[in-house]
């Protein structure tokens, strides 16, 4: 499951970053701002009609991500852990 498919306001955990082949540097960029395996992540809003930008809380900080960026973040439900 990726971050663009999750429910709003539900808690998830980051599993991995699947960066596209053309832009591998995005993985490191997302990791630097806190999208690391095991980190708790919640989508707070998905923008008008769910088209983004997404407002995402990761750890204790909040970021605005485009839908295309949210799509790269693989997550699992926090209750599995």
């Amino acid at each position: 499951m990726h971050l663009d498919q999750v429910d709003v306001n539900a808690a998830y955990r980051v599993c991995a970053i699947d960066a596209p082949k053309g832009a591998p540097q995005i993985k490191g960029q997302l990791e630097d701002i806190g999208f690391l395996p095991g980190e708790q992540v919640t989508v707070l809003r998905k923008g008008l009609l769910g088209k983004g930008p997404y407002m995402v809380r990761v750890g204790a900080s909040t970021f605005a991500l485009r839908k295309s960026e949210a799509r790269m973040i693989a997550v699992e439900s926090a209750s599995h852990v």
Binding site: G22, G28, Q29, I33, L36, P53, R57, A60, A64
Partner: protein
């Protein structure tokens, strides 16, 4: 052959402040150094360099450098690259810091601690400051600083960036430090190198595990959400209410910029005139007097007059930035900007450009994506800056009848609104075209923008930032703009008219000759030779065109109400088609050398300014041509 440079540094110790963006580092820097700050650029790059001075209790002076915020020490943006280079002692003209202060936000230890672990590997003496402790306490977060210090192996101090005595613990620590031997604060080897991709990936993983362990040991692995920010966001980022509030806010800011600024602007205008009159009375009527009054004083006065508007606009922008609302405005606008290939981050520079394109172009530094930054710089001059207003006002009152349309809408006001709209639409079209023509590797433009918690802005911080903006603007006016003003004065004053000449002197000058030659270029779009000549000195600043027209029409150039005297002259002398064509010209034309100079400085070369100059000229010519021909076709010629 390479030249080796020798740099001499002052003997005072250099302390660098390192921290994530939004950790309150700049507020802390202001607390430590107060108004004793110098703002400049790092050598060779347009990244702002802030240095300040702190006098310790012992009387010792130390220099404090506020490094650009960084999420990691693996550089991904220009800002982060500068931070890394300074810390490694590789930045040109910079001394390697003697001590690094890692500033942590107590509210976000997990992300901030990773930076501390990376900083420890640099091998520089290092201490840790836990900032925003007041907010953490209020939210029930108990941080055991002694335990944290034990985990990190570094001294941990605390600070409250928004309290006047909030940095006292740091000052005390620095005063008691033995500056000759800081080895006790050094944890790694001192020959550190820049992280490469492989080592960064390895470190990211181990650092993450270590941070998790530290947080668990300190019993801080619970996440406490900021409820006040969440409640504010429920309204301010609401899909319907949010944009409405944003538009209302922008409307109020614009009202304030234009209405509050009138008094100080009139004051500047009349003091420049007063000064000109008195200097004029003191000096004999020679070229020197003309240079001082018509050249330097009038030219600089014409630019400085925008300072009140720029300061009021920046006051609001800084207020929104300090409070945490500005990134949210960018969030709300990201979809609109995204449709033409930009991101929400371009919003702030474009907003500033409505006062003046120069601060707008300077504000593009916050855009990390290089392509987005170029596009934003290229379209910024199309935002209707306030220098166009005197020209619009002259032409509208001379040619557009004062009449009410339906619903009490004023026709003159409607035309003014349409001119603003034309600039915005033109900018969007150009951005959209540039999006299609830039290479595919840049198409993936990231947003990834942090939305920090809301804060009450502090007036002291606002005042310091505002003063720095004003200083940068005035320094520019005193430098390149002064030179260009003198250059244009020379063009408009020499050679002198021949004996017994009947026309106005400017007709016989270089500017006059250029203007006459330009008539061939401009006659297809309906400009007569008077307009063509006036456009030449108008390159200094757009509103100078009004006084130049007065000069060409042989009105007294010192006349305070040049535009009032001009209105009957031009409304009888020009056709409506010519007036509309000139209005269209001013929407797009690169009619301001100061902007071109600012672009050259910010982009570090002539390529972008030349592209800007040529495409804006082409666009203005096209728009005027269509307007003129259409107006003639409709029988308005």
């Amino acid at each position: 052959m390479s030249e080796s440079k020798v740099h001499f540094f002052s003997s005072e110790p250099l302390v660098a402040l390192l921290g994530n963006p939004n950790c309150g580092k700049t507020a802390l820097f202001n607390l430590l150094t107060g108004s004793r700050q110098k703002v400049a650029n790092y050598s060779g790059v347009t990244v702002e360099r802030k240095e300040g001075r702190l006098t310790l209790e012992s009387g010792k002076n130390i220099r404090i450098l506020d490094l650009p915020g960084a999420y990691s020490l693996y550089p991904r943006s220009l800002d982060e690259k500068v931070t890394c280079n300074v810390l490694l002692g590789r930045a040109e003209g910079e001394k390697r810091p003697d001590l690094v202060i890692c500033v942590l936000s107590a509210m976000n230890l997990r992300r901030n601690l990773r930076l501390v672990l990376a900083a420890k590997r640099l091998g520089l003496p290092c201490i840790v400051v836990l900032n925003m402790l007041d907010i953490a306490k209020r939210q029930g977060l108990q941080i055991d600083t002694a335990a944290l210090s034990g985990e990190l192996g570094l001294p941990v101090l605390t600070s409250i960036g928004i309290q006047s005595d909030g940095a006292d613990e740091i000052k005390q620590f620095l005063a008691n430090l033995d500056w000759r031997n800081l080895d006790g604060l050094r944890t790694g080897t001192s020959d550190a190198t820049l992280e490469n991709v492989a080592s960064h990936i390895a470190h990211t993983e181990t650092d993450n595990i270590q941070v998790q362990r530290i947080l668990q040991n300190l019993k801080l692995d619970q996440i406490i959400p900021d409820q006040l920010s969440d409640r504010l966001d429920a309204v301010l980022l609401h899909p319907v209410l949010g944009p409405i509030i944003l538009v209302a806010l922008l409307f109020c800011i614009f009202q304030a910029v234009f209405s509050w600024a009138t008094v100080p602007m009139d004051l500047i205008k009349s003091s420049v005139e007063y000064l000109g009159m008195h200097i004029g009375a003191l000096l004999p009527d020679t070229w020197l007097r003309s240079l001082l009054i018509n050249g330097i004083l009038a030219g600089l006065g014409g630019v400085v007059i925008f300072l009140p508007q720029i300061l009021i606009l920046f006051f609001f922008i800084l207020l929104l930035e300090e409070s945490g609302y500005l990134p949210r405005a960018a969030y709300l606008l990201d979809r609109v900007m995204g449709s033409v290939g930009l991101s929400g981050r371009s919003f702030i520079p474009l907003l500033s450009s409505f006062a003046c394109a120069i601060p707008g172009i300077m504000a593009t530094r916050s855009i990390s994506n290089a392509r987005d930054r170029m596009v934003t710089i290229l379209i910024a001059p199309m935002m209707t800056c306030s220098a166009r207003l005197p020209v619009y006002a002259l032409l509208i009152s001379a040619f557009i009848p004062e009449q009410k349309l339906w619903a009490g809408i004023d026709l003159q006001g409607l035309v003014l609104f349409l001119l603003y709209l034309a600039g915005i639409l033109g900018a969007m079209v150009v951005a959209w075209i540039l999006k299609r023509f830039t290479s595919a590797q840049f198409k993936m433009n990231a947003l990834m923008m942090e939305l920090p918690s809301y804060h009450l802005p502090r007036l002291g911080n606002l005042a310091i930032s505002l003063w720095q903006r004003a200083e940068i603007f005035l320094r520019r006016v005193g430098g390149i703009i002064l030179l260009m003003t003198i250059g244009l004065w020379v063009l408009s004053s020499f050679p002198f008219p021949p004996e017994g000449a009947t026309g106005s002197p400017i007709q016989y000058s270089f500017a006059g000759m250029i203007g006459q030659a330009l008539t061939h270029v401009f006659s297809p779009i309906g400009f007569n030779w008077q307009i063509s000549i006036a456009l030449v000195p108008g390159m200094a600043a757009r509103e100078v065109v009004v006084s130049s027209l007065a000069t060409v029409y042989a009105l007294s150039s010192s006349s305070i109400d040049a535009s009032e005297a001009l209105i009957p002259l031009i409304s009888s002398g020009w056709s409506l088609a010519t007036a509309l064509s000139l209005l269209a010209w001013f929407v797009f034309a690169p009619q301001c050398l100061s902007t071109i100079a600012a672009v050259k400085r910010e982009t570090g070369g002539w390529k972008i300014p030349v592209i800007m100059l040529s495409y804006l000229f082409g666009l203005a010519y096209l728009a005027s041509f269509i307007t003129y021909r259409l107006a003639i076709f409709l029988g308005l010629g």
